[in-house]
Amino acid sequence: MSRRRVLFVSHNHPKVRPGGAEGYAHELHLALRDSDEWEPTFLAKSGPPLSRSGRPHEGTYVTPVDGAEAEYFLYADGFDYDWLFGSMRHDKSLYTRHLRRFLEALRPDVVHFQHTLFIGYDAIREVRRTLPGVPIVYTLHEFLPICRAKGQMVRTMDGELCDEESPRRCHECFPEYSPQTFFLRKRFIQAQFGLVDLFVAPSAMLRDRYVAWGVPEERILLEDYGRRLPAAPPPDDERVGPRDRLGFFGQLNPYKGIDVLLEAMRRQAPDGGAQATLRVHGANLDLQEHGFRDRVEAMLAETRDRVIVAGEYAPDQVAPLMAAVDWVVVPSVWWENSPLVIQEAFAHGRPVICSDVGGMAEKVADRVNGLHFRVGDPASLAETIGRAVGTPGLWERLRAGIPRPHAMGDHVAVLAAAYERLLAGASRRTAS
């Protein structure tokens, strides 16, 4: 039997700009390539804003990724992306002509959207229009369809976590847009989402948020990201003395909470008690706005004796870096969905210290395989770090409680089964 074709649509290719969601999406594509039953194609938006170079050939808006057979870039040069509604303004021919031609040439059996950012929700409608019987799957990675503020549901005026959208509240965060405009945005996105057959939510927290927003519960599958990670953590080195080495892995931006962590490090009591050290692995501090950057640099200077900036890292280099720390700290100040760094920490046998909200609190069980601290509160984090470092046997107990990672092979099986169910349902509908 010939392999069925699945098309993955992503907002970015990790080769153009590394990133969590797109990195995972590409890994999924590569994993599916190894299967006997599925033939995947990966379509990633390229060009501005994430890449400087636009489309290379006249007369087409797609082109293979560096010659690869099953990976394409999609360009939108000359089209006007509306960030508020998530749609191309006015000229829809990116979908009705260019995407349509691609779909007709490829004829996938399933279309799986990882993201429609920079492409537009209208792409969903175009898939339904061009390939009427083909099931449409959509993975949710954050709250962008619900929340204009970077999809984080953190209020713009005071950084408080938001757990409920409404036209009025969204207008409060963005006074330049009226409540009616936010109502229009929601109805528009929901109208396009109405065509999606199955949503995938990597965390229960995310799923619940979308159900509250209006996605029918029976249409969301709870399924965490699958990873190509070691099935069992490496055996641990014998260490004498406290488990006092912390590690941070991620972007040095406000919503990942690096400033909360540095402030906590600053507050460590200088008395004879246990002192933690911190290795910061990450980048892009230079891309942040002045106030934040200056504060971080000042705190780094102050904590020079116990905080080391280890710089950027590539995803496949993470093993030795993880081995060099005892704890991984995930101090994000937004809800997070299913942080890939938590899966990586667990895969390497590192208990996680994280904020007590959202996807972090869901994936890390307090006092089972990690420790929670009050989100955004450096004092709480400092106290938690003190406890982590200063409690004999705690690290070992938490390490023992670390669950097995969700393997990519299992993840692929779950998705493939979902695709099969959808295809069976679709063919039943066509037959009747």
Partner: protein, 593 residues
């Protein structure tokens, strides 16, 4: 236009000689002729002399010794005449008189207009000069006013008119006359707004003088609103018509004279802007308070705005139509959506309509009331039609006509048995709303129109039927949206019933009934009250308005009109509505059905 007689009976003198002639316009000759006698030549014009039929505009008395000249004006083709005059002479007939000139005499007589005026016109007394201008004005009315004739008349006017003290805008000056604005529309209709300060004496005369010299008395007209004199500037507004055509923009003058005989004049600058600007200006004046405001509304504003709205109604028409996809040929329901500025709302509506199978059976028609966006909408509509695969039509209007005209013109294009008017900022909730509304309307025999519950984005009631209420202060009748602001699920909101009025934002009505009643009224400015007006016309026709709360849509009331303009429009519309329906509404209040 028939020729009007000169201001006074002019007795045609006997044979005349040409004294002087000048070109008043490219094609109008003005001549001064005196009785043939001493000094006149014996030369006769040749047989091929130019023969002109003219009109005597003045024949002043003079003594036999120095006879004053009779003034004749005649249409004359200048280019041809120049040759003839030089070569063959001229015979000018006017009434029973005949003025002859040989070629030489004609050549000698021809001069420039300034010289002509100086020699023969400027020396006359004020009354004679005024009569002369009046006769010339009526000549222009009869013969048509070309641009050069307009300029010529203006030159004459400036040379001949009685000048008054020019109004000075000095604090405390006793004689002040100020024109705030002057608009011209519909050819020769004018609207003026200004103020005067005549000290202790009453106003005896308020005269508008056109650039071409016509004098129009404003005082005493019923379309003049004059504020009571109370020791401060007296506001006035007037809607008047020039009897003779007027074409020049510069040169309007306003004169005022008080009971003591003192006069003052001021320049009245004619607004270069279009009728829409005139409409805005009159609406703004109509919002004035107090006795003066009421006089403005019931006088000049009512007549000027009625005329302006009429002009718009007569001029606005469908200029272009486009059909996207296969619109059902014999639909039961035509959905008509007026579009003003916010064409992005089309996409939002289509995104909702696309999931409703009922929409595919309707005729969906967007009427563009912002013609400057025609090209933009055309491209956009084509793109959306492709993406959403829902057939619809678009119709573009020639000018911005207002929502009533947009709905009426849309209705004239629609094929459905039922019309469903829908504002562009209304979004359906769940599919099936059209069928439900139709069933309710069809089931209820006396119902003439049906409308649903309309909600704001936060579930507050925006519309659950309209009632009419008299406002305490002004005594004017106003619309009240029943239960506005209450939660849409409140039991009272959910009660379907006949209501005094329905909003045009979502209203279903039988197409034949709508046409029979003449559609929505064009009298209201922009968009306001025309739906209430229509509801009352239905009532007059013994039809009810049905509120159907089981059907619910969202009405986002997107701000298309800037708030200030809206307020002024509303003020006038409410006043007009009261004036038209006061009696009927009072009757209803006394005997509610």
């Amino acid at each position: 236009m028939t020729e009007r007689a000169a201001a006074e009976d002019v007795a045609p003198p006997a044979g005349l000689s040409l004294r002087r002639a000048a070109w008043l316009a490219d094609d109008v000759l003005i001549a001064a002729c005196t009785p043939s006698g001493a000094g006149s030549s014996e030369e006769n014009p040749s047989a091929s002399a130019a023969r002109l039929e003219g009109r005597l505009v003045d024949a002043p008395e003079g003594d036999a010794a120095s006879p004053a000249a009779a003034i004749v004006v005649a249409r004359a083709p200048r280019a041809a005449l120049d040759l003839d005059l030089d070569g063959h002479g001229l015979v000018l007939s006017a009434g029973g008189a005949r003025c002859r000139a040989s070629a030489g005499e004609a050549r000698a007589a021809l001069t420039d207009l300034t010289t002509f005026v100086r020699e023969h016109l400027a020396g006359r007394d004020a009354g004679a000069r005024a009569r002369l201008m009046a006769a010339l004005t009526s000549f222009a009315a009869g013969h048509g006013l070309s641009p050069s004739l307009a300029r010529g008349l203006h030159a004459l006017r400036e040379a001949l008119r009685e000048r008054h003290a020019v109004s000075v805008g000095v604090e405390g000056a006793e004689r002040t006359l100020e024109v705030e604005r002057l608009h011209r529309f519909g050819g020769s209709e004018l609207y003026v707004r200004g103020r005067l300060f005549e000290g202790s004496a009453a106003l005896r005369r308020l005269t508008a003088v056109s650039p071409e010299g016509e004098r129009i008395e404003l005082l005493g007209r019923d379309r003049l609103a004059l504020a009571p004199r109370a020791g401060r500037p007296q506001e006035f507004a007037c809607h008047f018509e020039a009897e003779a055509p007027t074409r020049l923009a510069d040169g309007w003058v306003l004169e005022a004279e008080n009971a003591t005989g003192r006069s003052v004049e001021t320049v009245a600058a004619l607004s270069p802007q279009d009728e829409a600007a005139a409409r805005r200006a009159v609406v703004e004046d109509a919002a004035a308070e107090g006795v003066f405001g009421e006089a403005v509304r019931s006088g000049p504003a009512l007549s000027a705005l009625t005329r302006l709205q009429e002009l718009r109604r007569d001029c606005v028409h469908v200029v272009a139509e486009e059909t996207h996809g296969a619109v059902p040929p014999r639909p039961d329901v035509s959905v008509i959506v007026p579009l003003y500025e916010r064409i992005d709302l089309v996409e939002h509506q289509l995104a909702q309509f696309a999931r409703d199978p009922e929409l595919a059976e309707c005729e969906l028609l967007y009427v563009l009331d912002s013609p400057e966006l025609a090209e933009h909408l055309g491209d956009y509509a084509r793109e959306l039609a492709r993406l959403y695969e829902l057939p619809f039509r678009t119709a573009t209007l020639s000018d911005n006509g207002g929502v009533a005209l947009a709905r009426n013109l849309g209705a004239s294009l629609a094929a459905g048995r039922l019309l469903l008017f829908l504002d562009s900022d209304v979004l359906p909730g769940r599919p099936g709303w059209i069928g439900a509304l139709r069933r309710a309307l069809d089931a209820d025999a006396p119902a003439g129109a049906a409308g649903p519950l309309l909600r704001y984005e936060d579930e507050a009631v925006q519309h659950a039927g309209l009632t009419f209420e008299r406002t305490a202060g002004s005594g004017e009748w106003s619309l009240v949206h029943r239960l506005k602001g209450m939660h849409a699920e409140l039991p009272a909101v959910r009660e379907g019933r006949a209501v005094p009025g329905l909003s045009g934002a979502c209203m279903m009505v039988d197409a034949a009934l709508y046409a029979g009643l003449g559609g929505m009224s064009w009298r209201y400015v922009q968009g306001d009250f025309e739906d209430a007006d229509f509801s009352l016309r239905l009532a007059k026709d013994r039809r009810t308005c049905l509120y159907v709360p089981e059907v619910s849509l969202y009405h986002l009331e997107a701000q298309s009109y800037p708030p200030a303009a809206r307020a002024a429009n509303r003020r006038y519309n409410r006043w007009l509505f009261t004036r038209l329906w006061e009696e009927a509404l009072e009757e209803r209040a006394v005997r509610p059905s």
